[in-house]
């Protein structure tokens, strides 16, 4: 094993092994592919974020005065499509999952390295179609593509947007497939299922959803395109179709898709909380089972998006019940993270700050989900800002917090450099404060009755004050997001060289150099220890103090 004192320039790593654009675009190294994804994902995150800022600026005043109504509709549509399909769904699996899963299980790559590269190309082709859609005048279906609005009534680029989602969906399916096979077949000797880091379990559960769910949305989206182009009567009642059929197909994927977004984040948080508490995770088996439970039961709750859409009373009853059922494993996870901290030895580095933020915001997001699962309440608050606030607490408060926490945690491994800790903490604080200021007022707006997707609310000036707070929060949030991008880039050149294991963390990824070599391990690792054996790691460290 290499020691911490080596300079990155002195030895061969996956980064300096080859140079030139070809060595990147044709690479089959999972770590390089992860970085390719990182670039795409970062690009789309800032594109989607830019749309979000324009939305918030428009809503600063009640009148629709900054952009036209059609433009506003395009902004929230493209914000949703870009963020969901090109950032939230791929972000953690395709960047951190891709980079870490083979290393965490002691393999030199994923099971299908070329398919992994193909996934990236599909993502990029989908991304190019999305960019083309944006530049060609945009699309205003709402990210949900509800019919018959999308199939008959809009004159924008619905088909190219649909195609973009369709193609990028295959990227997601192939990544999921790759992870499942890798987890089954590529584990190092001794790396039993019970020793897998929860990060790997989380991606395994996520992959199941990706493989089983994504084809359904792909079919639904193709049917939208077919109805739009060929006027087949599938969803449009005027042609003999059923608009609720689309909603069922769409949400059959798009509800589980929420778990595609959040489960990998849960995996990250488990790693971080254990490391910075210096503790084994509380209830390892319960945590792994909860992940699988969420993935399975998550498939059975989709119609809770449709309580006022015209489904039968009894269907609503069952979906409400199942929605409460899926909340139980989420609650288990929150309690277990909290208990992991009990009697720990806790430090507050940037990743841990994000983990604190995640636990708090995910709790609020989860609990407000209980309001929406509650039939009597949902009727009033669905399709209002209450829903907008709720899912942003899960996706931004939860998933993006976890993603940033993970990026800080593994950045030394990925880049071989340390990020500046002080700036990191500041950014984490800004994100937390900015996020709450942006989205908490929206819960109140929702209960007051402000519908979502409203360009103009001059009929209800009482909504303005909360919207002003929200826009102010979004500004802080934007700074909080720009900071890490700046200092991560800065650190690639000026950051302190990272030791192999800057956090004294457990896990195979911390036993290899930072950054790793192309084949990760010089010799096949054999695992003889349980996951999160912080007691053993810390004991060893006391016996042999490491010089810094």
């Amino acid at each position: 094993m290499a020691t911490a004192v080596l300079e990155t320039g002195e030895r061969e790593t996956y980064l300096n092994r080859e140079y030139g654009i070809k060595s990147w675009l044709l690479t089959v190294d999972h770590k390089r592919i992860a970085l390719l994804y990182l670039m795409g994902i970062t690009f789309f995150f800032f594109v989607g974020g830019f749309f979000a800022l324009l939305i918030r600026l428009e809503l600063l005043t009640p009148a629709g005065d900054l952009v036209q109504a059609d433009t506003y509709n395009k902004l929230f549509t493209m914000h949703g499509q870009v963020m969901i399909f090109f950032f939230l769904i791929p972000a953690v699996p395709a960047v951190l999952g891709n980079f870490l899963i083979p290393i965490m299980i002691g393999a030199k790559d994923l099971a299908f390295p070329r398919i992994n590269l193909l996934s990236w190309y599909l993502y990029i082709i989908g991304g190019i179609l999305m960019v083309y859609t944006i530049l060609n005048g945009g699309v205003d279906t709402g990210w949900t593509f509800y019919t018959p609005l999308s199939t008959e009534f809009l004159k924008t680029n619905v088909v190219t947007a649909a195609l973009a989602v369709f193609v990028s969906g295959f990227s997601s399916i192939l990544t999921g497939l790759n992870f499942i096979v890798t987890t089954h077949r590529m584990r190092a000797p001794g790396m039993t299922w019970n020793r897998l880091p929860l990060f790997v379990w989380a991606h395994y559960a996520t992959s199941i959803i990706q493989v089983l769910g994504t084809p359904v949305v792909a079919i639904a989206i193709v049917l939208v395109a077919l109805e739009r182009v060929l006027h087949l009567g599938i969803f449009n009642p005027a042609l003999g179709g059923d608009p609720l059929l689309f909603q069922h197909l769409f949400w059959f994927y798009s509800h589980p898709a929420v778990y595609i977004m959040i489960l990998p984040g849960m995996g990250i948080i488990s790693e971080i909380v254990c490391c910075f508490s210096r503790k084994r995770v509380f209830g390892y088996k319960a945590m792994a089972l909860a992940l699988l439970g969420i993935a399975v039961v998550g498939f059975l709750v989709w119609a809770h998006h449709m309580f006022v859409a015209g489904i039968s009373l009894y269907a609503a009853l069952i979906f409400s019940f199942l929605s409460y059922f899926v909340a139980v494993p989420s609650a288990i996870k929150v309690f277990n993270w909290t208990s992991t901290m009990y009697k720990g030895s806790i430090t507050y580095q940037t990743p841990m700050l994000y983990a604190f933020g995640f636990i708090g915001l995910f709790t609020i997001g989860g609990l407000t989900g209980l309001f929406l699962a509650c039939l009597g309440i949902d009727v009033h608050v669905t399709d209002t800002y209450f829903v907008v606030a709720h899912f942003h607490y899960i996706m931004v408060g939860g998933m993006v917090m976890a993603y940033l926490g993970g990026m800080h945690f593994w950045w030394p491994k990925i880049s071989g450099r340390m990020y500046p800790e002080g700036w990191g903490r500041l950014a984490a604080l800004l994100v937390f404060v900015g996020f709450n200021l942006t989205f908490f007022p929206q819960f109140i707006l929702g209960y007051m009755g402000m519908p979502r997707r409203y360009w103009d609310y001059s009929h209800s000036p009482e909504f303005q004050i909360l919207n002003v707070l929200s826009t102010a929060g979004a500004t802080i949030l934007a700074v909080g997001y720009l900071l890490p991008m700046i200092y991560f880039l800065w650190s690639m050149r000026y950051g302190k060289p990272a030791p192999d294991n800057p956090w004294n963390a457990t896990g195979l990824e911390w036993m290899i150099p930072s950054p790793p070599t192309t084949y990760n391990f010089e010799e096949q690792p054999v695992v003889t220890w349980e996951a999160y054996n912080y007691d053993e790691v810390d004991k060893r460290r006391e016996e042999v103090p490491v010089a810094h």
Partner: protein, 310 residues
């Protein structure tokens, strides 16, 4: 209804606030109490089955209270009382059209008397819209090609926001209106200005004009089923199924007569899909519903009879 929803909301709010406070307190307390200190290493704990079961079962029981209470409320929100007055609604990009049983038509404004249950029978001419009155805590999507139903019981005179809550294209945020709740006598006065004919009467005339009456006779001799007293009753179909004759059944039978053939009759009725407007369809449905009702056909569903309601 608004009070019931608010009561449940406050209950959820209090319970969630307690759960949030519990978790936040634990996180903050542990983070401070167990911060890294020299000579105090972490103490390893693997987990606890008892605790896992506790924090699965207790939340589940609490969730079931949410579920049960919410479901009970939903069943009341979704089922209009039999005696409700009815207002036919046609939504389109981007306006609301209302028609009272008395024949009054309104656009983007709905006048109702205080204290009367109002049942909205709604359909859309184009895309999906959603009828949302925040003050009444009710919302119901309005779909093309079928009826959906919402109801409310206004208790206080005033003017309340009406929003479209389902994104419906360019001027979605302009598809707004108001529900004006009036004292019964004011409502009578407002109503008096009309001079239009009741919806069921419009329907009756159409029923004759379109020739429906030749087959759907009020005796047993017609080539089509006798429609008197049909509404709300079960109908035995040719294939042995039995369906309830609700508004959607009547609608479908007019637009796609062959979709459900009544037992003992031939599929000979022509379709009226594309031949009549949504408003005309509403009038026909209102007329068929009025058949076989006691005395003044539509009075029971009139808003103006509000004064007799408690």
């Amino acid at each position: 209804m608004a009070n019931n929803v608010d009561a449940l909301y406050i209950f959820l709010l209090v319970v969630s606030a307690m759960m949030t406070a519990l978790i936040f307190t634990m996180v903050v307390f542990f983070a401070v109490r167990y911060r890294k200190r020299p000579g105090q290493p972490a103490e390893q704990i693997d987990g606890s089955h008892a605790l896992e079961i506790t924090w699965s079962v207790i939340p589940f029981c609490v969730f079931m209270v949410f579920f049960g209470w919410g479901a009970a409320l939903y069943f009341r929100e979704r089922r209009p009382p039999q005696t409700s007055a009815e207002v036919y609604t046609v939504a389109k990009q981007w306006m609301w059209k209302f028609e009272h049983m008395e024949g009054q038509r309104e656009i983007n404004e709905l006048h109702v008397p205080v204290g009367r249950d109002v049942k909205m029978i709604m359909t859309s001419q184009d895309v999906i819209h959603s009828f949302y009155v925040p003050a009444f805590r009710i919302k119901q999507d309005v779909l093309p090609g079928r009826y959906t139903v919402a109801w409310f019981h206004p208790t206080k005179p005033g003017t309340y926001h009406l929003f479209c809550a389902e994104y419906c294209g360019t001027m979605h945020s302009g598809m707004i209106g108001s529900v004006v709740v009036m004292e019964p006598k004011d409502y009578e006065a407002w109503m008096g200005g009309g001079g239009s004919q009741p919806l069921a009467v419009t329907g009756e005339k159409l029923f004759a004009e379109l020739g429906c009456v030749t087959c759907h006779r009020s005796d047993t001799q017609g080539r089509g089923p006798n429609l008197v007293g049909l509404f709300g009753k079960p109908v035995l179909l040719e294939d042995g199924r039995s369906v309830a004759a609700d508004e959607n059944y009547l609608r479908e039978s007019i637009l796609q007569p062959t979709a459900k053939i009544v037992n003992g009759f031939k599929p000979i009725m022509p379709t009226f899909q594309g031949q009549i407007s949504d408003e005309q369809l509403n009038a026909l449905v209102a007329y068929v519903k009025s058949l076989g009702q006691p005395a003044n056909p539509a009075a029971g569903r009139n808003l103006a009879t509000a004064t007799t309601q408690p």
